[in-house]
Symmetry: C2
Subunit: 195 residues, 2 copies
């Protein structure tokens, strides 16, 4: 496998075509239902060419999970850049996450399937998010923007809520009214359920 950093522009385009084809084929059929030949056919390249870029179907799969991680982090950090405080950042972050789930449904599938296909990549994905999330919640509790509480437990709870809402009101239902979903959820998260 060639180190991606040493690829020519043409090599980078081919590698990218393989990744997009793999997203489409594996995301739609699942890891076990997708063969390398399906990926190379969708990418319009010879089967042997695949191995110049990736060692195996597992390798291209792991690369997609890592790509989804980078893409999600970048999207969230762009979406929350102008937030005036943590609660607004949470709200904008959830809104952006639901949008990612709606617009990249196959990549969303791949991250969920990683739990079974590439457990280390799955763990790295969520543990990385949880760590960054906890730090943000901790800082917000310190400066009084949110009430004090266990940042790590809150981070996992909020991530879990986002993942399922992303599936329900994004990935499987791109027509859902996501602004309303975010409003309802934030009414609960900011003010609580207690009457």
């Amino acid at each position: 496998m060639t180190d991606p950093a040493t690829l020519t522009p043409r090599g980078r385009r081919t590698r990218d075509a393989i990744l997009r084809a793999a997203e489409e084929v594996i995301g739609a059929r699942g890891f076990n239902g997708a063969a390398i030949v399906d990926i190379t056919r969708a990418a319009g390249i010879a089967q042997g060419t695949f191995y110049i870029y990736f060692d195996s179907k597992e390798a291209v799969f792991r690369t997609l999970v890592e790509e989804m991680g980078r893409f999600t982090r970048r999207s969230l950090s762009e979406a929350t850049a102008g937030a005036k405080d943590r609660l607004e950042a949470e709200r904008l972050g959830l809104r952006a996450f639901l949008e990612i789930a709606a617009t990249r449904p196959l990549l969303y599938n791949i991250v969920e399937e990683a739990r079974f296909v590439a457990p280390e990549a799955y763990d790295a994905y969520f543990t990385g998010f949880a760590r960054a999330y906890s730090r943000n919640l901790e800082a917000a509790a310190r400066d009084g923007t949110i009430r004090a509480g266990d940042a790590e437990i809150r981070a996992w709870a909020l991530m879990g809520l986002a993942v399922t809402l992303g599936e329900r009101y994004g990935q499987r239902n791109p027509e859902a009214d996501r602004d309303r979903v975010v409003s309802e959820v934030f009414d609960m998260l900011e003010r609580g359920l207690r009457p």
Copy 2:
């Protein structure tokens, strides 16, 4: 395949041995990593006997998902039977759910893998829960036990949070302090994050 309702006591024991072996083998290796022969070997029966009870590996898998659904519903309704109001029922329900995740980690894996292996069973599982959950939240909002809000969106948000916390503080970490997790999460859910 024999209708389970017509089985003799001995037949029921054999069917149950197959289900427990399938839970263990599929839960540990994943659906694609587990062969029927692994299941029959673990159950201590001849391979042909399997087909008296189930048509395929998919069939035994779907039965496990349905079983997990019944088991979870029964556990939650037992756990919440004595609750004085909806918020207490939510708290007791989450506590019981984390315990299920800690004590039946393999069955938990199977429900999550159903998303890819038996999507209709997965949908039925979560949609059934969401419907019952929404009804409870709606009734509580009507009688003023919780603040008014969209019951369906809240139900999916709360289920998502429970699924991820179950994975994190139950299935993967049976030693976690689940009482503390539930306290922290309910502090957020009841009173909200706003300072």
